[in-house]
Assembly symmetry: C3
Homo-oligomer: 153 residues x 3
C-alpha cells in the first residue's frame, strides 16, 4: 500500500473545480426541493430549463416539466392541505459527474418524510434521482430528471 502525501501543492485545478461544483449542486438541490415542499408552484418551474423532461415511476411516458408537471405540484399541495400533513424532501449520497459540454450528470438518493397534522413524522418513500443539470443565466437548472422508486421497481 502506498500512501500518497496530500499537500496543497498536489491539488489539481480539477479537484478544486470539483469541490466548487459539489457545493453548488448541494446548494441547488436544497433550494429546489425547499421550493417543492413549500408548494411554490410559481418558483418551481424556474428551477428547470424551459424544455426540461421528467421521467418518473408513476408516469407512463416522460413529461415536459413546464407543461405537464406543474399542475401535479399544485394538485399535491392541495391534497396535503386537505390531509393536514406536509412533506419534507431530502437528498444525499450525491454523485456529480461533469460532462465535456459543461453540463453535469448527477445521481442522488432522496427521501420524503411525511408529517401528519397530529404529529409523528415517518419516512414515506426512498428514491433515486438522476438529473442532467445545465447552467443557464448563471444558475444551475435541471434539464432532465429520472426518478426511480425502490418500492415501485
Amino acid at each position: 500500500m502506498t500512501i500518497e502525501l496530500v499537500g496543497t501543492a498536489e491539488r489539481t485545478p480539477r479537484s478544486r473545480e470539483f469541490s466548487v461544483l459539489y457545493a453548488e449542486v448541494q446548494h441547488f438541490y436544497a433550494q429546489q426541493l425547499r421550493i417543492l415542499d413549500a408548494h411554490d408552484a410559481g418558483a418551481w418551474p424556474d428551477t428547470f430549463t424551459e424544455d426540461a423532461v421528467f421521467e418518473g415511476p408513476q408516469l407512463s411516458a416522460p413529461v415536459r416539466v413546464r407543461d405537464g408537471l406543474t399542475g401535479r405540484v399544485r394538485a399535491g399541495a392541495a391534497r396535503e392541505r386537505r390531509a393536514g400533513s406536509r412533506l419534507d424532501h431530502w437528498i444525499g449520497m450525491l454523485d456529480v459527474r461533469p460532462q465535456a459540454d459543461g453540463s453535469l450528470r448527477t445521481r442522488c438518493s432522496a427521501l420524503a418524510y411525511v408529517t401528519p397534522g397530529g404529529g409523528g413524522s415517518r419516512v414515506l418513500y426512498v428514491y433515486v434521482m438522476e438529473d442532467v443539470l445545465v447552467r443557464t443565466h448563471g444558475t444551475w437548472r435541471t434539464a432532465h430528471r429520472r426518478v426511480t422508486r425502490d418500492d415501485l421497481a
Copy 2:
C-alpha cells in the same frame, strides 16, 4: 436554452469562496450536533456565541442559550438515560447566505432519530433550523437560532 460552458477560468472568486464556506458550515453542524447527541453540556454552549438567542416551538419566548438552554440539554440527557434511549440529530438541505458583515444566514432541514434501548430506530421529528453564524476566534458559532417544527406548526 443557452448552455454556458463551465471552465475553471469562469469560476469567480465568489463561487470558490462559497464552496469553502459551505464545507465549513456542514462541518460545523456535524460537530455541534454530535456534541448535543453526546450530551456534552460542557462543550455545547461554546458552539454558540456568549449572547446567542434561541427561539423554538416549545418556548413561549426567546431564551439566551448560555443562561436558559444548557439546563434543558442536561435535563434531556437525564430523560434519555432514564428511558434507555438515544437521539441522533441530522441536518441536510443546507442553504448558506453570506451577509455583508461577514456573518452567515443558514437554513437547513433537521431530523431527530430515536433509538430505544431495545432497538428499532425511527424518525422522531422533522424540523427547520435557521441560524445566524458568526466567526469568533477563528471558529463559526451560532449567534441566533430559530427552530420550527412541522408537527407544531
Copy 3:
C-alpha cells in the same frame, strides 16, 4: 463578541484545502455505499485498501475486509433477494480530520433504510462509522473502519 470580517483574502490555503477534501470524501462515500446497496461484490472490495480492517458490533473480532467481509456482502445480497426487500445506506454529519501522514480520519452518522417488496420504507438502524481513509493510486480508499450501532451499544 468580536465578529471577524470574512473576505476572500482571509481564506487560508488550509481552509481551501479542507473544502476540497470535504467534497472528495462526501463523493467517496456516495460511491462506496451505492456499490454496497447495489450488491456489487466485485467493485466493493476495491473501495478498501488491500489490507483494510473492519470492526463492527456484530463481529467478535476485527476482520480483514478482503478476506472476511466480501462473503458477508454476498450473503446479505442473497438474503435481500429472498426477502424481496432492499437497503439504502446514507451517511451524514461528516467530520474529516486530515492527518500529518496524508491520511484522513473521518466520522459520520449513517442510516440504513429498508424498503420491503410491498412498499413502506422505514429506518432500519442508525450507526456511527469511523474510518481511516488513504489515497492510493489517486483514489480515496478505506484502510480501517469501525462501526458502532446505537441499538447494540
